[in-house]
Symmetry: C2
Subunit: 367 residues, 2 copies
Amino acid sequence: MPKYPVTCIIENLPSSVPFVGPEIQERQLGKPFVLRLGANENVFGPSPRAVSAMQETLSEIWMYGDSECHDIRRALASFHDVGFENVVVGEGIDALLGYTCRLFVEPGRKIVTSKGSYPTFNFHVSGNGGELHFVPMKAHHEDIDSVLAKSREVEATLTYFSNPNNPMGSWHNNEEVQKLIDGTPEGGLLVLDEAYIEFAPQNTAPGFDITNPKILRYRTFSKAYAMAGARIGYCIGEAGLIAEIEKVRNHFGVSRVSQAGALASLQDQQYLGQTVNKVEEGREKLGEIAGKYGFLALPSAANFVAIDCRRDENYAKSIVGALAQKAVFIRMPTVNPQSRFIRVSVGTEQDLEQFDIALGEVLAELG
Amino acid sequence: MPKYPVTCIIENLPSSVPFVGPEIQERQLGKPFVLRLGANENVFGPSPRAVSAMQETLSEIWMYGDSECHDIRRALASFHDVGFENVVVGEGIDALLGYTCRLFVEPGRKIVTSKGSYPTFNFHVSGNGGELHFVPMKAHHEDIDSVLAKSREVEATLTYFSNPNNPMGSWHNNEEVQKLIDGTPEGGLLVLDEAYIEFAPQNTAPGFDITNPKILRYRTFSKAYAMAGARIGYCIGEAGLIAEIEKVRNHFGVSRVSQAGALASLQDQQYLGQTVNKVEEGREKLGEIAGKYGFLALPSAANFVAIDCRRDENYAKSIVGALAQKAVFIRMPTVNPQSRFIRVSVGTEQDLEQFDIALGEVLAELG
């Protein structure tokens, strides 16, 4: 008998965390990171208009945020040319994925995702008693054909797909993604995580079809809009599906400050464009750095680059570990064969110069 | 067959929201509220030190918050003289109650609470398929004896108790609460919601016993610390119980800005003391206003006062409705006999003068 009156699902659930945060690693190392290039945060920061809006809203922080997130939700509906009833705003994509799993996952249900893709989704699936079925990536891309085949085979309730993919930065174009959407079997739902979509080429995201009850799409202000610490994201889908999320979400959960910041961010698309350009330059720079050391940067449509270190997982691990000792925070994919890569988030020009130096030193030490 | 592949629990779950937020009401009314005295927010605002800390942290908003909430968690442990492992920080009490229900509620489980007490807890219980059992209040107080009797009778997994109570503001002293803690039956868990505890007399909260695995206690920065819009609260309990929450919580869910604000708030106990004094004065003023119109204010240990309008629910409803038409936002209890009350949050001196005038006009109109 368990020590506490937890549910059957929780009784069988091991303790796990999807990610060990950089601050925890800093405390373990006993020193702060000088370069924070491991969490795919956006070092260029949010629009100055967003910062001003958040500063002003601090004087209202004694008030709960709008439980409907009305203003940002309306702005998002207009921006994406969908209805107000097709958008739900939540405490980041992580929370929205959590609500989605609350709604659709229960013991006996099968969920399909790609091996090595976003672990926080898997955390929520397991936490609700679901059975995860993994398909391998193909050439370091999530593989649409395998994903669909597995979904049909196991009669998956949820099929997760990220475009662009984290941790690889690989992506599919809108026609391929449309094939995935159209191929999602009846009775199942496609969870399309587009956290990094603003960094991707124009033809990456298919248009929104808000009549399709088989797909939910997730976006965030954490990445391109550089507001990771504010916890605000959104989900777009068919109205009835969005209404289901209303049944379980934490209605007063989105910070008042974050709502104001997100609205101002969205309204400053010029700034977003500048950020996206800087990120593109950073990706190129990371490609050059990789090449300089005989490594290979995988083309990326996100704000990070997966770099093939062309040996094995242990080698990649030693690089990540040795960089941490030099106060440089990066991460790496966890699943073979992607685990011979390291994953480096784009930083400022200066950040990347420092990274170049640190990597050179580490590689010289490792031999 | 449902239109979407929702779980059995969700299929049977009606759409509901615990509260219709003031902004939604404003949009329905077509005008903003001039007096916002209905959400038990703290109009006196957070410590200037907290505002400064949050302002400074805005420059770091591109970074995720610390996933352990280490600094504020350590400060809370020290403040309450418990271990780091006895504290978990979350996105407000609402989210922490949600995690608690995820852990302990499943179909077939019985949950006990008081009729008319905090509806968001009930929302989470129903959302996880639990069976709610209600006991009536006694003299407008949650009734410890009835609560315990019902918990024993139904073999409740969770027993909810708020001290002070919302919406009535009534409370029990530490000896009575200790009786409740000690009487919680084996196999069950006491969910002790102390959202308003800082406003209550010194002898209201019993000491923390972090060896007791039958109780979790919930506190927040939304009320006395005036940071409702920042979404940050915490839960204290026996270490193993707190570790269970780790299994399901959203690890990167607490805003970086909110963590910094909460830490600075906690460190400014002098400011907190001033706020508590102002709230006490506000309660007295609300008592005078009530008396002036022949109403009766229930003694309150929170930042709001329940006022007995001495007629029936319809009368209280007309007062709330007529005040809303005058752009004054208050709420009322929903359950008979408490539904003959109105509930008014403490405002500034000027707020309460305006409230007095508006109430006078409304009562004159209603006759």
